[in-house]
Point group: C2
Chain length 189, copies 2
């Protein structure tokens, strides 16, 4: 058991993923998650606004991380290289998560259409924020939106690959290789 297990937030995430996987997201209540984690329902709501946030909490921080990576990329870099810097920043943050939890999270999302929609919406939000950051770097449209959306495609594919466990490399490596694959595939290689 690492540091992660010792706090209520981590225990709540663990309990939620176990219950979502066992009986489905819709059939699980916040009270049940709290009970399984050995904390009060009040503690649950101190950590998460609702039971969906157990899965998507931290997305604001992730978006900020990605945008900061784009903004701080050297000014002479092109649009997609700046997006790549944002993806590196995302991978550094997400790579700290436990892979087994990420894997179970992806499985729960994949099993529920409403959660899949939510995940896609989050990616679309990140893309919008990245496009705005690219505009500030002087990138026009449609280049900014295309670079931003293509970058979020890489994020999604790399996270799936990494969480699926079929790939033993760390997330930053998987992210960079997925990006290289996208470049190759769009170039027609």
């Amino acid at each position: 058991m690492g540091r992660w297990q010792s706090d209520s937030r981590g225990r709540l995430q663990e309990a939620a993923l176990a219950l979502y996987a066992a009986r489905g997201f819709d059939q699980t209540t916040a009270a049940e998650i709290a009970a399984r984690a050995g904390v009060t329902e009040r503690t649950f709501f101190r950590h998460f606004a609702d039971k969906r946030e157990v899965l998507f909490g931290g997305s604001d921080l992730l978006q900020e991380q990605i945008v900061t990576g784009v903004v701080q990329a050297p000014g002479e870099w092109g649009a997609f290289d700046a997006v790549a810097a944002g993806l590196d920043a995302a991978a550094a943050m997400l790579g700290e998560l436990r892979r087994d939890l990420s894997r179970r999270r992806q499985a729960v999302i994949a099993a529920n259409p409403e959660l899949r929609e939510r995940e896609m919406a989050k990616l679309a939000d990140y893309a919008t924020a990245v496009a705005v950051a690219l505009h500030q770097r002087g990138v026009g449209e449609p280049q900014a939106s295309l670079a931003a959306l293509a970058g979020m495609t890489v994020l999604r594919v790399a996270l799936d690959l990494w969480a699926s466990g079929s790939d033993e490399r760390d997330l930053p490596t998987v992210m960079r290789e997925s990006l290289a694959e996208l470049r190759a595939v769009t170039a027609g290689d």
Copy 2:
């Protein structure tokens, strides 16, 4: 008034878009749409399963069109060229729609988070179907998913550009140019 105005389905779409734009999607009922179109509520439900389908009806057909384009592309074509053939097929179908209706449709979707989520989910569904078609062409992972998702990025950006009316070219042209822009942007040009 063209042929489009003469049928109930078209009148219902026109009425729905006017009401969604004026008072919001959530505040509009199927009965109100039917009344405005001068048909019965029963006629509404003969054409559309619910009021969301006025916006997303035809998406199964569109997906079929895209996949057929991918499947029928010459066998020696690479993954992204096959996706491009699917996008050409989509543009041929969608380019037949009235641009003013498409523009109002995009505006209604943009104004409603739930509809934006639904739109992203549809694109994700198309991407999944395209990836399956690419697997059948012998394309592996993650190349198939990357090519399919990048293609749907082009579809979304091209539709927005075309519907926004800032671009007077027809949809097949906008689609091809957006695809060329994506290739250029990921290549770092």
